[in-house]
Subunit: 417 residues, 2 copies
């Protein structure tokens, strides 16, 4: 007997099928509301992830006034029939079936800079923005790496050189490098399925989740970060903790004198010839959620990935210094990574808030909960940007039908006429 | 003895001088927060009006994927020295002094379609969006007029033909035309200085102002509108009531099957070659604030005004049918208008939610609280878009140093070499 409630599949949970926010006004029981937890409740989140700004305050990440950088098209229908073996599976799966398996909201594949595949199976539109969750981290760290390459950020410096307020916290004796590679030792659990995990305290402080009535807890990301304690010696192993990126965002603000959204616009988003503005969520103090609040259009995420594939060169300019990208692609300490115990990611490493596969293609990726990806395969000259709204947060639920699919597609594109 | 507290002038109340939201994070007493009423409190509102999306949920009004429609430049420094006599004043004022007098955040003047003047004296940037407040009404009604000209909306029909839910309300026996011209008779006071005025009940229902703890009042614009009662016979006189536009927004949604933001994008904003996306505020049900929630970039507001000046023709296309614009320019019933008692607007009328001067130049304008304007002077071939953050809501506080300034500038541009 199976007591697990049946989770609706991609078709059954599609916002159009569920009629979330349809009607003027939508019926009360078909409304997705932040105050009712709609942002983190399945299947409402299938609508919410494509409409974050309708649920909470946000700030613009301006695309700048430069011209759009076109992405030439070379669509290939044959991709749908590519087969791969899911991790841990015994039966091959077709590429097109993987989209539903992952509750894909949008996916675009670039090969040699041309769009070979683009689908929007969810409620997301091509010109709409979808939340990237922790893909945000890779963006913020790429920005930081760019500042470092320009001599504006010393990654070997103590965090407190830039943010003295963190002296009393677990970052009091950490370096920027340890933050960038998440080798800090901190009392902070990122276990989303545990309602007592610190990640939820952090979320309430930052206003990412609704607060209970009469809430008198910590208010604001910056205040929360100052309360985080160390739980050991930094630099001994990799442990994925969102709050490191919020510290990095604070550092970026201090260095640039800009808000994080302004800095991201100036150094990255306005340099890509993006089609759309992006945006970030923020707390009540105006501090952006550096660990996960970035929302962008899918093709613009692909442009960002293509810039990474081009070692920082894109849109007729060096957007990020090549040395910064090479450092990411070389990867981090694989022994450090192994200690974190990601069974589905053997031999990988984590560097500058990017996930590095160390596979034969030299692929590396940005990863966010519920299936958000920017995947760069330099050998196959391929970039994949995907947004999804999988019922489960942890990537272990999407990786099995994602990582082998991406690699199969890469091999296909290399060999296909 | 004068008990009125001194209101800081434009320089003293400038957000940079006040240091609102400066720092990472800003000091607690320099934070502008929605929950603390920052949106309607002076001088915080001087920052808030240029940053609405950071304070509350919003929805995008997409500029579309068409190319930007350039506005050629022909800047004229001589405009600053133009003099005019403020309404009720005895001493002439210079144009440049009028900017500070009105707490101007941004102003752009087009003459024959070219930018002759552009300033951003507040915290607004050229690519940023500022709230238009009731300028929104003119946008929504122009959209409705466009739908009517295309045969999709019958302005002589009863409101209930489109929104049956309003049968029990004061609009139960009103026509769309009465809504468009605000000749409905309703129990609703728009007196912002009176905290018991219905406009605040409406605002709480729509989430425009913070709700008291334990609020169990009406939730949502649509629910509120159904509670509004008639207070007499429709069609007898003009009374300015924001809620008429919220009804009109509801009608537009029902006709188009789109959200108001989508309909505005499709029919107007995406047709103007706008530089930036615009956005609207919305309530917890996802219903946009049709009466005042539109935020746009200043030059795009000028493009909209230029389209109105061109009788609907702009950016190489007929954006709005000429008949719809001509109907607005012809104006409404001046006797109806006179009954409303606007001492500073003698001889004016109100038509399709535009204010028509009936002056020698045939000027007409969109007007929002705290100094928001789109002013179209067909005879002088002039369009002015202005955003402001005046301490007082009512236009009677900005009109004296605005209306004669605009007219003096019009006469100057006609005569100047």
């Amino acid at each position: 007997m199976n007591n697990t409630p049946q989770i609706p599949d991609a078709a059954a949970s599609h916002p159009a099928a569920q009629r979330w926010m349809v009607g003027s006004p939508p019926p009360r029981d078909r409304q997705v509301r932040f105050a009712e937890g709609g942002l983190f409740t399945f299947p409402q989140l299938r609508w919410a992830f494509s409409n974050i700004r309708q649920l909470m305050p946000t700030v613009n990440v301006w695309r700048g006034h430069g011209p759009l950088r076109p992405l030439p098209r070379a669509d290939r229908e044959d991709i749908d029939a590519i087969e791969f073996l899911p991790l841990g599976g015994t039966q091959p799966m077709r590429w097109d079936a993987s989209l539903a398996a992952n509750y894909t909201d949008g996916i675009v594949v670039l090969h040699r800079g041309r769009i070979v595949y683009e689908r929007y199976p969810g409620v997301l539109q091509a010109h709409g923005q979808h939340i990237g969750w922790s893909v945000t981290k890779s963006l913020v760290a790429t920005l930081a790496a760019s500042l470092a390459a320009d001599g504006l950020l010393d990654t070997s410096a103590p965090v407190t050189q830039y943010v003295p307020e963190l002296a009393v916290s677990g970052w009091g004796n950490a370096t920027v490098r340890q933050v960038l590679d998440m080798t800090t030792a901190l009392q902070f659990s990122e276990e989303y399925v545990n309602p007592n995990a610190e990640v939820w305290t952090h979320a309430r402080a930052g206003g990412i989740v609704p607060r209970p009535a009469g809430y008198d807890g910590i208010d604001g990301f910056c205040a929360y970060l100052q309360t985080v304690k160390s739980n050991g010696e930094h630099g001994r192993g990799f442990t994925y903790r969102t709050i490191n990126t919020d510290v990095l965002g604070w550092i970026v603000r201090r260095i640039t004198g800009l808000s994080l959204s302004e800095a991201l616009s100036q150094r990255i988003w306005s340099q890509l010839g993006a089609e759309q503005d992006a945006y970030m969520t923020l707390d009540a103090e105006g501090t952006e959620f550096a660990g996960g609040g970035f929302n962008g259009a899918l093709r613009d995420m692909a442009r960002f990935g293509e810039m990474m594939r081009g070692e920082g060169w894109f849109n007729g300019r060096q957007v990020v210094p090549t040395a910064a990208i090479d450092d990411i692609r070389t990867g981090g300490d694989r022994a450090h990574f192994a200690s974190a115990g990601y069974a589905l990611l053997p031999g990988w490493s984590y560097r500058n808030m990017w996930w590095v596969t160390h596979n034969a293609h030299g692929a590396f990726m940005a990863r966010g909960i519920h299936g958000q990806n920017v995947y760069v395969d330099p050998f196959a000259e391929m970039v994949i940007a995907r947004f999804a709204s999988h019922p489960m947060a942890a990537s272990m639920h999407t990786d099995p039908t994602t990582l082998p699919a991406y690699h199969a597609l890469a091999r296909y594109l290399i060999s296909a006429p």
